[in-house]
């Protein structure tokens, strides 16, 4: 480096110095340490002891690990596609030139900024089998068919679908993104399509959707990543179903034992930090694989990453 380059380098480091420290202390070090711990027997109270692949070997034979992974994938597999369809549908409705659009948008968006703890409380009450709002609405609809609404969070079969329903209430954020994407679609394209005789459904399928595809892809991957980390609502609801302050059960009947909940329990209740780190790394690998996919798509069409 010559003198000018050296001066520029110093200025660059001066401006980004805070981040270099933060990156090291709060991301890089934890990522490395986590990898090391995952090969160790480690409770936070004593220093880690090397145990090789023991944690990973145990993981393969841990029924609860597989259960939590299955639960999480089930939840993600249901909430992500449904959430995308609902968010996109709402955005399409709002994209029609309607009166009071900003009011409707407010209605759909507000739930997505409600603190998760508060919305978990609210939905816990809405899902109440006896006095809850949802069954008050559903019971008269199902009655003519001789059916009864389920007890939702108290029923192992319905607890996860209940969490999916709750997640749909929070799609406002994605909806706003889709709406912005829709408004960027050039009018001329619709006019051209109209001249070619394409209307309604075909116009949506051949004009809107292809143009919106990158945004949809990107959002799906983001939603997938965050749904793999589902924690707060499940923690609160399973503790409420449990009543005795332990969450490891994922009540009812371990149906809401999600990956992060199990990880948290192993780390901070059982103090098996090494084992938890191995779990964390498995999650990390899954997430990296999905994010790689997201950035690949995004790089092509949307983000100016260079």
């Amino acid at each position: 480096m010559n003198r000018i380059e050296w001066r520029r380098f110093r200025a660059g480091i001066a401006f980004t110095g805070l981040w270099i420290v933060g990156l090291g202390a709060f991301t890089a070090w934890p990522v490395v340490a986590s990898l090391y711990y995952s090969f160790c027997d480690y409770s936070i109270l004593k220093s880690p002891v090397w145990s090789g692949l023991e944690n990973y070997r145990e993981l393969i034979h841990d029924d609860l690990f597989w259960k939590s992974l299955r639960n999480t994938l089930f939840y993600a597999g249901l909430s992500v596609p449904l959430g995308t369809v609902v968010a996109l549908s709402l955005a399409l409705l709002l994209n029609c030139e309607v009166r009071g659009r900003s009011l409707f948008r407010l209605f759909f968006y507000l739930p997505s900024i409600v603190p998760m703890v508060a919305s978990a409380m609210l939905w816990l009450w809405i899902f109440n089998g006896q006095y809850g709002l949802l069954n008050w609405v559903l019971a008269p609809i199902l009655a003519p068919f001789g059916l009864h609404p389920p007890a939702w969070l108290a029923d192992p079969l319905w607890a996860k679908p209940a969490l999916v329903i709750m997640s749909l209430w929070g799609v406002g954020n994605a909806m706003v993104i889709y709406l912005a994407g829709l408004q960027d679609v050039p009018r001329e394209l619709y006019e051209a399509a109209a001249i070619d005789g394409a209307t309604g459904w075909r116009r949506f399928w051949h004009v809107t959707l292809p143009l919106l595809a990158p945004v949809i892809y990107f959002n799906i991957i983001m939603a997938l990543i965050s749904s793999l980390q589902i924690f707060t609502q499940a923690y609160i609801m399973s503790e409420a179903a449990n009543g005795n302050g332990t969450v490891s059960d994922g009540n009812p009947a371990r149906s809401t034992l999600f990956y992060t909940i199990y990880l948290f329990t192993v780390a901070f209740y059982d103090l098996r930090m090494g084992y938890a780190s191995a779990m964390a790394y498995v999650l990390f690998v899954i997430t990296v694989a999905l994010t790689w996919l997201a950035t690949r798509i995004a790089r092509r069409r949307m983000l100016n990453l260079d």
């Binding site: 933060g22 934890p30 936070i44 739930p111 006095y131 964390a280 983000l303």
Partner: protein, 396 residues
Amino acid sequence: MRVHSKFGRFVVYLLLAVCSLAFVMPFIWLLSTSLKPIDQVMSLPMTFFPRVYAADLDGRHREVSLDFAVGQAGAVAVVTAGPEAGRRVFLSDQQLASRSSDVRVLHRVEPGWWHITAHVDATRVVRPGSGVNSDVVEGARWDIVPRSAVESRIRFRWRNYTEALATIGGDPGEPGSTAAMNHVSFWVFLGNSFTVCVLGVIGTVFSNSIVAYGFARLRWRGRDVLFAVTLATMMVPFPALMVPLYGVFRALHMVGTLQPLWLPTFFGSAFNIFLMRQFFLTIPEELSEAARIDGCSEWRIFLRIILPLSKPVLAVAALFHFLYAWNDFLGPLLYLSRKRTFTLSLALQSYQSQTGGVQWHYLMAASTVTILPIIVLFLFTQRFFVQGIATTGTKG
């Protein structure tokens, strides 16, 4: 897009109305429950508006609770003999026929009449031994009357809010008792939440703008590599960092304090650096060049030229961080263990588990209080919100 046919427009509005109802209903239910007395929370058929009922009980006009409808005909009577003398009972016609000797009939009861009880407010009998329970109600405590004899009107029970806030930090207890010593005021939780949010917002705006300037407006060796690494860290899930991060803050003696929740914001975050960098890139380079020729240092250019032009993006980052910090649950759960240090989110969850989750009216009132600051903030800054989401989500 314009919908031309009348029928099409009708369908669009209908769908919008139905969806709006589905999204707004939970809020209405939240408010409705938070303003009801508990006996109307847990009762069927469900009502949206909390009501008070009043009826004549033994010649006095009183507030009553509406208990249940009686299925069969009979009579309300007073036992005149035996160990139960003076007790008021309901007897069906059959029972009446077999024990006409030791009872005096007060009045007939037709099927469908309602059982009512003189209203004793739950909060007035909270403390056993103070005798409140016994002297509130004098004379007959219940009766069975036709529905038309009970008058009702809507009354919101605003007291739920003061009571929920008084008990969210545990049983307030008598002054000087252990319960009172362990009790934490709602204002402490609110203060903790605001501390974490405000310090976090200051840290976010301060650190990320400086760092983003280094990435967007300076050219130096290693910049692009560091920026690529920065972007890569965005995909690291927080749960994967949880264990070592806990170790880091434990080594710094910060576990159990609020510091782990706001201190890291002073060292930047990948997402906000990215957000601000993208904005800084749109500011014309000529402005900086002109300033450089005039002999301005980079810090001066940053402070005098770039920052004043970047208010919108700073506002977006500040808002999003406030929202994130206010709503965060996992962070506080991880680092905080003493009640006095809890943020509002954590306090709300602990309130729920400590009350056993049946005091729905209080829980909903406390939840409303937790949501309210966010809603107010949103309504005042809507423009930035929508703008922010749209830019971060689509264009980057």
